[in-house]
C-alpha cells in the first residue's frame, strides 16, 4: 500500500476511535502507531505529548503532525493531520444536519457513560505502559509524583509544569550528572 495513503488512513482510523480529548487518543495511538506500524516508540509519544501540551494547537492535532512528519517529512505531517480530522468532519456534519439533539438522546447518554468509564481504564493502562520507559529512577519517580500532584490537586498549567520538568532534567542530568546514562560514562 502507498505509504502516504497508509498514513492518512491510519490517522483517520485513530480519529474515528477517539472519544474525548487528545489524552483519550493515546491508547489508540499506542496500538496503531507504536505496536502495529512501528512509526514511533512509547518514549517518542511521551515527547510529542510533552511538546504538544505547551505549543500552540490542540494536543491531538499536534501529536498527529509530529508522527506524520517524523515518518514522511512535510507531506507526512500534513497527511497525518488531515487524516485525524477527517472523521470529525464527516461525523459532525452528519449529526449537525440530521440529529442536533444527538447528545440528549437517553441511549446515547448511557452509552457515552459506559465509554467514559472505559476510557479511564484505557488511559490508566497507557500510563502504566509509558511509565515503564519514562519513570525509571529516583529523579524521574520524583518528577512524576510532583507533577501529578501539582497538576491534579493544585491545577497548575501543564505548560509551566513541562518547562519546569525540562529544567529539572537538564540540571540533574547535565550539571549534577545524576540519572542512568551519566553513570555509564
Amino acid at each position: 500500500m502507498n505509504t502516504y495513503f497508509d498514513l492518512f488512513f491510519t490517522f483517520a482510523k485513530i480519529g474515528a476511535c477517539t472519544f474525548g480529548g487528545g489524552y483519550a487518543m493515546l491508547p489508540i495511538l499506542q496500538r496503531e502507531v507504536v505496536e502495529k506500524k512501528g512509526w514511533a516508540t512509547d518514549e517518542e509519544l511521551t515527547d510529542y505529548y510533552a511538546i504538544g501540551q505547551c505549543t500552540p494547537g490542540i494536543i491531538a492535532v499536534n501529536t498527529a503532525t509530529f508522527i506524520g512528519y517524523k515518518y514522511k517529512g512535510y507531506l507526512g505531517g500534513v497527511l497525518a493531520t488531515l487524516g485525524v480530522v477527517f472523521p470529525s468532519i464527516v461525523i459532525i456534519t452528519l449529526i449537525a444536519t440530521f440529529l442536533t439533539n444527538f447528545a440528549d438522546i437517553p441511549v446515547v447518554r448511557h452509552a457515552l457513560t459506559g465509554v467514559n468509564a472505559c476510557v479511564v481504564a484505557l488511559i490508566a493502562s497507557s500510563v502504566i505502559k509509558l511509565g515503564k520507559s519514562t519513570v525509571k529512577d529516583a529523579v524521574t519517580v520524583a518528577i512524576f509524583l510532583v507533577v501529578l500532584g501539582l497538576a491534579f490537586f493544585a491545577g497548575l498549567s501543564p505548560a509551566i509544569l513541562i518547562v519546569c520538568a525540562g529544567v529539572v532534567g537538564y540540571v540533574t542530568r547535565r550539571l549534577l550528572k545524576l540519572g542512568k546514562e551519566a553513570e555509564g560514562k
Partner: protein
Amino acid sequence: MILLRLFFEFAKTGLFAVGGGLATIPFLRDLGTRTQWFTDADLTTMIAVSESTPGAMGVNMATYVGYTTAGIPGAVIATLGLVTPSIIVIIIIAGFLQKFRQSKTVDAVFYGLRPASTALIASAGLSVATAVLVTIGGVSEHTFTVHWPLILLTVAVFVCMRYTKLKKLHPIVFIGISALIGAVFQL
C-alpha cells in the same frame, strides 16, 4: 467573505489555544459573541455533541461551528484553519529536534520532560475518573455519590486488557462493548 473569515478565526484559535480541546472553548465563546454566528446555547449543544462523538473534541468543535456558520464548506475550512498553526509550529519544532537529536542537552531536557508528560496524562485520566465515577453535589452540596457499576466496568476493562488474553484486542473493541453495556444497563 465568510469562509476566509472562518479560516482566520480558527487559525487564531489554533494558534492561541494551548492544550486539549477544552482549551478552545473560551475562544469559541468569544467568537460567538463577536460575530453572532452562534449563541452560547448553541455552543453548549456543540460541546455536548463533540464530547459524545468520535474524534478529538477540539476538532469536533471547529467542524461543528464551521458547519453551523457556513455549511459543509464552513466545516472543512474551519477545521483546516484550526490545524494550520499546529502543522507549521510542530513541523518547525520537529525539524529542530531531528537536527539536535544527538545533543546531550536535548537528551537531558527530555529525561525530565518524559516523566512529567506521563504524569500529566495520568492527571487527565484522574480528572476523567473523578468526573465520571463519582458525583459531588447532587441532592445537597455535601453529598458524594460513588457510581459502583461504573467503577466495576472500569476495573473489568482494565483487568481484561492488562492481564488476560483479551489484551490483543483493539482498544475500540473495549470502547464498543462498554458503550453497549452503558446503553443496555442504562448506566
